[in-house]
């Protein structure tokens, strides 16, 4: 969204224009929901938490001074909501032995489609074992529309730190998958 258009939308929301706030929800709901649904372990909580984000946005708009971009401010709220959500017990990962021991994540396959689905399922379960912050970083990085810079602003971290934390998260994910598959 252009800066001018964004400022106008924020201004209208602050004046109590409900249509403007609805437009804001429409504009950000996909990203907010996707980020939350990918970060919290209990998917059934995702909608409630996404609504909480917009409630906080609505309450906070009178104090939003526009120093940060609207999107960055919204990501910050998403991050707070996700990280405050009490982490639930990790989902247990099914211990299914592979056909050949020590096979690689990319190559174990008889029926490719089936293997792909199974692999995707394993990746999801492995992600569930990561700490909340790592899940959030991976979720945000692989969702279109969230740039490293915005993520760094939202988490109040230097850009380099965000990149390092993201690579650490992916490394952790790889190790979980390798340990489980070997």
């Amino acid at each position: 969204m252009e800066a001018g258009h964004e400022r106008e939308l924020v201004e209208r929301c602050r004046r109590g224009d409900e249509t403007a706030f609805q437009a804001l929800v429409e504009r950000y709901k996909d990203l907010v929901f996707a980020l939350i649904a990918r970060t919290v372990l209990d998917r059934s909580r995702a909608e409630d938490l996404a609504q909480d984000v917009f409630l906080r946005v609505h309450r906070g708009l009178p104090y939003f001074r526009g120093e940060a971009r609207l999107s960055t401010w919204i990501y910050r709220i998403v991050a707070n909501v996700c990280l405050q959500e009490r982490s639930r017990p990790a989902v247990s990962i099914r211990q299914t032995p592979l056909d050949s021991p020590g096979a690689q994540v990319a190559s174990a396959s008889i029926d490719r489609r089936f293997a792909e689905l199974e692999l995707r399922d394993r990746v999801e379960k492995a992600i569930a074992r990561l700490p909340a912050r790592a899940r959030l970083l991976i979720a945000a990085h692989y969702l279109e529309g969230v740039r490293y810079e915005e993520l760094a602003d939202a988490l109040a971290l230097p850009l380099g730190t965000v990149k390092t934390q993201l690579f650490r998260a992916k490394q952790q994910l790889r190790r979980i998958l390798e340990t489980e598959l070997s």
């Binding site: 609805q22 996404a50 690579f167 390798e178």
Partner: protein, 159 residues
Amino acid sequence: MFCDEVLDAVERIAAGEETPDRRAADHLATCRQCAAALADARAIDVLLRARPAPRVPAQFTSRTMARVRGDRWRRERVLDAGFNLALGLILFGLASVVWMLLNGSGLASVGDDAVAVFRTAGVALARRVAPALPLYAGAALLLGGALAFWWWAERDAAA
């Protein structure tokens, strides 16, 4: 251990954020463990990219707006209650100050006399007005009816 260094960089290499230097490239070509880790990191990157984005539930916007409206209504009520309370406290404070001033200056006895005068006048007025009460009630009813009709017609026109 060179493996540790390479394994540490595998995610950056897979994401294309880092190009392995000559030494690392040679190592990756000969070390099975590191080559496998790089292949895994690449496969995971592809899978993460292909992860379908969760779909927003239908009616999300309307449900969110309903919560926002409810929240605003509640906050306005709290604000109203706070305002009324503050106003009440101010009025009470003012009344207390006036009462203390009257007491202090000996004007309270004058106040008592004034109350007595108003009471007698009120009783006399009520006696005089009592016979005409049905007339007043009828007029008030007519006026109220006309106002209600006007409000109803306006509301219909607006809708």
